[in-house]
């Protein structure tokens, strides 16, 4: 593995270290560290895993083991600048969630889990976003879109740059 080019910036490292006093173990900083790196790089490449492991006094395999369990952290290439989750669980499905996801995939020309060629959007399905009263709903980055119709979804897709 290459050790030459460091991926974690000083800023990321400082941010990760801020979490140390909160927990009695360094390993507990794994998820916060993965989030910090993923928010900056939109993925967590293997080299970042190695560097996080060093910071947390862990074997890289331990960090990788955790990372691979969660659906949050792409590794091979960055997710889109917007990451949109379309809910497919029961309350949303009853109000057209499955059709909405299909419609959006058709419009964007990608399958769930994929990123558009221009890197603007990753579309994913979600299991219950906890906003079932607004079914069907979409979480796009930090923003929840409520009771979304196909027409609104088309418009929304146009806003992802």
């Amino acid at each position: 593995m290459s050790t030459g080019d460091r991926i974690l910036t000083d800023e990321m490292i400082a941010e990760i270290k801020e979490f140390f006093p909160r927990y009695p173990s360094r390993q507990a900083v794994t998820l916060p560290a993965l989030h910090i790196v993923n928010e900056k790089l939109r993925h967590v490449p293997l080299q970042a895993v190695v560097e996080i492991a060093q910071l947390l006094d862990l074997a890289p395999a331990e960090v990788q083991d955790t990372l691979s369990f969660y659906g949050m952290f792409p590794q091979d290439k960055p997710h889109g600048r917007t990451r949109a989750w379309v809910c497919r669980s029961i309350s949303c499905a009853l109000r057209g969630g499955d059709e909405l996801l299909e419609h959006m995939c058709d419009e964007a020309g990608i399958e769930p889990g994929q990123t558009t060629p221009d890197g603007s959007l990753t579309l994913e399905f979600a299991e219950c976003l906890g906003a079932c009263e607004h079914a069907p709903c979409i979480l796009a980055n930090e923003e929840l879109h409520k009771s979304v119709t196909k027409e609104e979804a088309t418009k929304l897709l146009g806003t992802f740059k």
Partner: protein, 448 residues
């Protein structure tokens, strides 16, 4: 009833410290720190009969007493804000609209249990909650409501937000603890229970957000008030402690006014739909409802007189009250589609540690995929029932309750709607439903 937990959510400043304090917020905290010992508070919560709102309904005060006596510490408190059970969003409303109410409840719970560090484990998909809670915590520290020697009482408390990473199993209490420790969220074999050996191998309490939010109201309004609402213990069942207090019900699906409503424990599904939800969407006839999150199983429309207290849904063949999240389906819904959706959820979310859960959830999904694609056989229904009857048997074959949650939709849908499944199979696979027909592989159906 007059809402208590939701009393202030319609105010524009309900999420700020000044808004919260202007309606009596933190009075309970101030009173307890000045006048009550941790044991006094523990006893008060015990007497109130408060039961956990996170799904299992375990008596909260009793859970707190399982912590070892005179432990040198540290003791940890984990607030479970992972809320991923499909249909459920009451915790989100509380955290978004009234975060200080939740934090006051958490701080009181920490005081009662002797925890000086609390981890607020919040699912990643709740960015607005995270933002509001971050602000609320800053306000609390600035006001001296957290930190060292709080309000001169000698009590110390730090609360840290910890974000999850999109996995349902992080809501299971020991899965949550493993995830907090930086590992995959694999539930632990119990015992030891978290009260003895939890986060970082120390005694730990895990409670739900709504459970914590009830605590300040019990302090302010008293045990008699709390017990005046709900359902008395069943005299024929010595193990039923009753269902007391207000409860947040999440109502979604084919409802005119989906939303989160506060009502006493014991309200019926019908009352909830009619009095709160504005009736069925477009006036259509109901067909079925999930009584408390997708894990709990299914009620038929004939069973909508089911009371939503901790023992109600169990009497109607469901797993229990769960999160009291009611999802209503009208007569246009295909039970095959419903069950497929449920099976897909559990197959996706099983953590994979236990063979019955891992294999049973994915096997049932494969069968339902095939049935939905028009290649079902009648014998599949018995096979699905067999899976349902064998994957989740608490306690016994699996480490956590997810497998049970996967089993009840299977059992209920096929037992309560068997005719519909049979008709679907006969209509979509008229030539091939003989029991001897070979089972096609999935790629033969989907063509890939």
């Amino acid at each position: 009833m007059e809402p208590v937990l939701l009393a202030n959510i319609h105010r524009s400043d309900s999420h700020t410290l000044s808004g919260y304090e202007s309606t009596g917020g933190y009075n309970a905290y101030r009173k307890v720190l000045a006048e009550m010992s941790p044991d006094d508070l523990k006893d008060l919560v015990k007497e109130s009969g408060l039961r956990g709102r996170g799904g299992a309904g375990f008596p909260t005060g009793l859970k707190w007493t399982f912590l070892p006596k005179n432990h040198p510490g540290p003791i940890y408190f984990c607030l479970n804000a992972d809320e991923s059970e499909p249909g459920t969003f009451n915790n989100r409303i509380l955290m978004e609209e009234d975060p200080h109410q939740v934090l006051e409840g958490l701080a009181l719970s920490c005081y009662a249990t002797g925890a000086e560090t609390a981890y607020f484990y919040i699912r990643y998909e709740y960015p607005l909650c995270y933002k509001r809670l971050t602000q609320a915590l800053e306000e609390m520290y600035a006001k001296g409501l957290l930190g060292k020697n709080i309000l001169g009482s000698g009590f110390n408390l730090d609360i840290y937000l910890h974000r999850g990473a999109a996995a349902y199993i992080c809501g299971e209490e020991t899965g949550l603890i493993e995830s907090l420790e930086g590992k995959r969220a694999w539930p632990r074999i119990k015992p030891p229970f978290p009260a003895i050996e939890g986060a970082f191998r120390k005694p730990t309490v895990v409670n739900n957000v709504e459970t914590a939010a009830c605590v300040p109201h019990i302090v302010n309004r008293g045990v008699a008030w709390f017990r005046s609402m709900g359902v008395q213990p069943d005299p024929n069942n010595p193990r039923d402690p009753g269902s007391f207090g207000p409860k947040l019900y999440c109502l979604s699906g084919h409802i005119e006014k989906p939303g989160c409503y506060e009502a006493p424990l014991g309200i019926t599904v019908n009352e909830l739909i009619q009095e709160y939800g504005g009736g069925m969407l477009d006036g259509r006839r109901p067909k079925a409802a999930i009584p408390g999150g997708i894990s709990m199983g299914l009620l038929t429309a004939d069973e909508f007189d089911c009371p939503l207290d901790f023992s109600g849904p169990g009497r109607y063949g469901c797993l229990g009250l769960g999160t009291a999240a009611v999802v209503v389906m009208d007569e246009t819904v295909s039970m095959v589609d419903y069950l497929h959706n449920s099976a897909r959820f559990f197959a996706h979310e099983s953590c994979g540690q236990c063979t019955p859960c891992r294999e049973g959830t994915s096997w049932s999904l494969k069968m339902l995929d095939r049935i939905q694609a028009g290649r079902g056989r009648l014998i599949d229904l018995d096979l699905l029932l067999e899976i349902g009857d064998t994957i989740g048997i608490i306690p016994g074959t699996t480490i956590c309750g997810l497998a049970d949650g996967a089993a009840w939709p299977l059992k209920n849908a096929i037992r309560k709607f068997r005719g519909e499944f049979e008709d679907f199979i006969k209509q979509t696979n008229p030539d091939g439903y003989a029991e001897t027909s070979p089972v096609p592989a999935l790629h033969e159906i989907h063509g890939h």
